[in-house]
Amino acid sequence: MTLKKLKLRHYLNYMVIGTVTAVLAGMVLTGYKFDNSLLFLLEKIAISIILAVSLSLVVGFLGELSLGHAGFMCVGAYLGGKIAALLVPTLGNGPLTFLIALLAGGGAAAVCGIIIGIPALRLRGDYLAIVTLAFGEIVKSLFQNSSDETFGGSLGLNTPRYDKNYLFIFAFVLVLLTLMVVQNLMRSKHGRAITAIRDNEIAARATGTNVTKYKLLAFTLSAAFAGIAGVLYSYSNYTVQSMKFGYNYSIEILVMVVLGGMGSINGSIIAAALITFLNTKLATILTGDLAVLQNLFYALILIAIVIYNNAPALKGFRDKYNLSAFADKIRKSRNDPGHVKDDKAKWDVVPTKIEMNEILSVDLTPQDSSVTWEKGGPK
């Protein structure tokens, strides 16, 4: 595989999302009117994607569980919405106000991310999950009980809604921005450092990785994008009511990340879009107490996926029957001698010397003599 191809592959998800956005935007700008339901759905999908991708940074790549993602979103929604409400009379409800609101909401959420990131440096695993959960509940409670003049209190904050015909365009531009930042980060040496912390924190520390810095970085960035999703939410609704941003919403985002495969950005995107789409569609189909069936399925899927992916007893089964093994098989049958085994760090134990030799001695000999070898390796 050449370097050029590799790059194209990395940009495919931008291209797909970008093309869809551009086509829809083009239609809107030439005067075509979409149904409200489609516009609202697109806005919701964009918000979910940003949330899922940003949470995936902490859960999938850093390997810490955050149960307060909705709390960061709440901060962004309230502060961004408030700033927008204050600015609209002077600056108008245009892109400039939107930009300022985004910066304010994202920034405020990032500050909260730093505040929560500090305990993250001391705590691990379960305790950290509980701290983030507590944070989410505190934020919700503070906004819920704010006075009517500041953040609207129990009635919720009235926010300016952006023209619904155009908001989804901005929303998807923000999705692309999120993807760009997160993907580029994860492909850089900083990203390697973050996954190294996930795989073995002590080893990462021993090899000189600045664990403190990278944990804080991941937390802050994740919170900032949750804040941006919050601002987007405030722009796609007339009121921001803090009840929405509870623990259940955080779990819903977590389901998207887990369903998409932890540590897979494309997986998160697809899962976020799919779940949001299904939620919206099912809401009009499943009525009455049947609506809970939806939650039941999510719970079952969550449990099944996590057990399947993590149970030590199923390891042999997984290695034999997963998607990439299947892909490998197909590739082998196509006689692709240039294929190098993908060596993602997914060892459950540190390999012994013998295993190490196995891994390093990737078989590069051609299986079919008809493949011609030239100078410098296979073509």
Partner: protein, 290 residues
């Protein structure tokens, strides 16, 4: 004086319930090394079982059935959802536990509907105590919690099984080498924790005769807070943390200006404790090993 007394008793009885739930959390955390997020929802199931069995009209039968049902449920969850993940990353276990919690809530909602069910288990009435009117059920709750705590402490200190539990919590591998059935011990821990949850469900119904699918969610999280404050893994710690949290909640509701922020105050205490003293008041210090 009267106000202080009644606030104290309300705080203590609420604290008693939190302590009861926290005991379950702390034992499971200490021995299975996992945060059983679904623990709060076992309380809720216990509440529903009492609601259903109260059709017999006999509270004692209802309580017995609820305890047995919760023990079976707790052990089943452990076998199906948690056991396959023994040895997997803590993150995976935690997410599964959240999934189980979600599953129990939605199941309850599908079976019983989303409107709360009202059920009166037993009306103890009230008594006058130094001028304050006190619910007798509050005193019963407190008394039972203290008895349970003492029994559990003695059980763990002086029986073979109890000491095996300590051994498993200290070093699972070494315990196994010494011939202790680690899986068996973990199952027993879950059984005890679930039985305590059933009792907590009963106390909730004695306090307020209503059960809904979210009954256990908030108390579960608060009781975990209590367990952390007291020091996770420590039985007297769970008691101490539960009582402290109950008192804070009761006092906070008494003060009009801060009453709406009660939950926020309790969670802030949790964050501060974790920052300043991550091992709680009575917990042991642990060092992470490679």
């Amino acid at each position: 004086m009267e106000i202080i007394l009644s606030t104290l008793i309300n705080g203590l009885s609420l604290g008693g319930i939190y302590a009861m739930i926290a005991l379950g959390y702390t034992m499971v955390y200490g021995i299975a090394k996992m945060l059983n997020f679904a623990h709060g929802d076992i309380i809720m199931i216990g509440g529903y079982v009492i609601f259903v069995t109260m059709a017999t009209g006999n509270p004692l039968i209802a309580i017995a059935v609820a305890v047995v049902a919760c023990v079976i449920l707790g052990v089943t969850i452990e076998k199906i959802a948690y056991k396959p993940l023994r040895g997997a990353s803590p993150l995976a276990v935690l997410i599964t536990a959240i999934g189980v919690s979600y599953l129990l809530q939605s199941l309850a909602q599908i079976i019983f509907g989303s409107a709360p069910k009202m059920v009166t288990v037993y009306d103890f009435g009230t008594i006058k105590l130094l001028g304050a009117t006190v619910q007798i059920s509050a005193l019963v709750t407190l008394a039972v919690t203290v008895v349970v705590m003492v029994v559990l402490t003695l059980f763990i200190k002086y029986t073979r099984l109890g000491r095996a539990m300590i051994a498993v919590s200290e070093d699972r591998g070494a315990a196994q080498l010494m011939g202790i059935d680690v899986n068996g011990i973990i199952t027993i821990t879950f059984a005890i924790g679930s039985a305590l949850a059933a009792l907590a469900g009963l106390f909730y119904l004695l306090k307020a005769p209503s059960v809904s699918s979210t009954l256990g969610a908030m108390p579960g999280i608060k009781a975990f807070t209590a367990a952390v404050i007291g020091g996770i893994g420590s039985i007297p710690g769970a008691m101490l943390g539960g009582i402290l949290l109950g008192m804070v909640e009761s006092i906070s509701y008494k003060i009009t200006a801060i009453a709406p922020y009660t939950d926020a105050i309790e969670f802030s205490i949790l964050i501060v404790i974790l920052l300043v003293r991550p091992n709680g008041f009575l917990g042991k210090k642990r060092r992470e090993k490679v």
